[in-house]
């Protein structure tokens, strides 16, 4: 059996998760400090990919990064082409899982007691110390939850991924696209195997989250 889809899915989801971790937290912290009106607008824009069908997200990605479109053309000069390449999957996964990180992180920041940051400042602590050593550890529950959800969502991503990078065995195939392809060509056994792999990974992730939460409770 060719294990490539497993390896490909994990590297796509893993890299996407790292990217979303930083951009999601940054966006959440930025939005959290905005005045209400702007917060509402930014919120709507950043959460949109969560409510749009993934195929619509994929459509927009092709519209932007397709080789015939300006951005795609510009990038192809440097040999970067997201369409039909495995790392295009990272792009799709980032777009679709970003709102989950952003939302949960913002919720965590909003429940943070701002007087702790005030206290830190009057004690002479730097802004980055306050952020990384006080704000982040106190908000870790929400941020951890957001990270796990984003990873799980990136791992399970199908719609935008299949539109942007398609299915090429050994090159762009992920677990979810493989399940569909094998089922389509009547390879029930193969499809079932990959379904079980997916199920195993998801169960392990959720168990790990539960364990972590109990440890901190």
């Amino acid at each position: 059996m060719d294990w490539f889809p497993l390896w490909n899915s994990i590297r796509i989801a893993g890299i996407a998760c790292v990217i979303v971790f930083f951009t999601g937290i940054f966006a959440a912290y930025y939005a959290y400090r905005l005045p209400r009106v702007w917060k509402g607008i930014l919120d709507a824009v950043l959460t949109l990919p969560m409510v749009l069908p993934p195929t619509v997200c994929g459509y927009f990605l092709i519209l932007i990064f397709g080789v015939k479109h300006p951005v795609g053309q510009f990038l192809s000069q440097f040999g970067i082409q997201f369409v039909m390449r495995w790392y295009g999957g990272i792009l799709a996964a980032v777009v679709v899982s970003f709102p989950l990180m952003y939302r949960t992180a913002r919720g965590a920041f909003e429940s943070f007691d701002e007087s702790l940051a005030h206290a830190g400042r009057t004690l002479g602590l730097s802004e980055s110390y306050i952020f990384w050593r006080i704000r982040m550890p106190i908000c870790r529950q929400g941020i951890l939850a957001g990270t796990v959800l984003s990873f799980a969502r990136a791992l399970g991503e199908y719609g935008a991924t299949s539109m942007l990078i398609g299915y090429t065995p050994g090159r762009t195939a992920t677990i979810s696209t493989t399940v569909y392809q094998l089922w389509r060509i009547n390879d029930e056994r193969g499809a079932f195997t990959w379904v079980m792999v997916n199920l195993a990974i998801s169960t392990v992730i959720l168990l790990a989250v539960n364990l972590l939460e109990r440890k901190h409770a």
């Binding site: 007087s115 400042r121 009057t122 004690l123 006080i134």
Partner: protein, 367 residues
Amino acid sequence: MGLVVDIKKKLGDFTLEVQFETRGNVMGLLGASGCGKSMTLKCIAGVEKPDEGRIVLGDKVLFDSEKGINLPPQKRKVGYLFQDYALFPNMTVLQNVKCGAGTIEKAKKYIKKYALEGTENLYPDQLSGGQKQRVALARMLSSEPRVLLLDEPFTALDNFLKSRMERQLMEIIEDKDKDINAHAEVIFVSHDRNEVYRLTHTIAVMEEGKVVDISEKHDLFRTPKTLASTLLTGCKNISRLAEDDKGYKAIDWGIGLKGEKYNKEKYLYAGIRAHDLRIAKTKDNLEYAKRDLDNNENVISCELVREVEDTFSVVIQLMPQNLENKTEYSLITYETSPAEWERIKNNIDTQNITVIIPEDSVIWMKE
């Protein structure tokens, strides 16, 4: 050294407009919750920015809107003790104190000084209320601030702990000259007049973002100048005033008031503290009060409405008789010891009590 504060900041329904100066004395900010006391402290600490004005500490300008100066809180050397202490819950006591002290050695010194040995490795949620406050104090003082801002530090404590912590805080404030925090300015904020009275020297009374009265505490409690400060200093009897050819008349009590007959400034309210009232209980008393009673000046005939026993006193509510328009201010509150009230009750008719308002205890207010 001295701290000069003169700031304006728009806040929702009202504008914060605060001006005061401290010179080595403990300054109290007294006001109801939501009047802008905490916001004033936050502006001094630099965690909130005023719209305009100046904040100067000694020869150091902390904020000046005209010159575009706004020092970050990290550089102001202003210590802030929060109402709920704002201890970092993810850090141990030692780590918390180190945030202010900078080094472990110094943190340990302060932990020893504030009797926190043995708690170094505990987290804030494992501490008692008193310990939490000592950690917050140690953390704040170890950063060697030149101004101490104390924001309702006793609100979260029960009564017994409160008086102990108060004593401790007073010692720290008085200990200033022996400590590295020498000559720190102290500003204490509270809505509790007794607390402010016990702990401070000068009191500024705040209402809706403005300082309505500011004076040395004894003066403030003896002769508050505004309605807001009279109420905040705990005066329970207040009447509106009207002027006629004989002088001032207390509308809500239906009597004339002696003293201050004519003054260039017009008074709008008069007040009398519950424990300053006298009740005529002997013949002599009555005889003495008779003339005033006939003139309808400074003496009110009342009937007993209710008596409420407090922990160490009795609060008696009285309603003036022969009053045409009774208002919510007409009810008169008299306070005395339970023993004294027993003596009075045995000598008088509770349906006809002669209440005397001593001339020199009347509080006159212009606004």
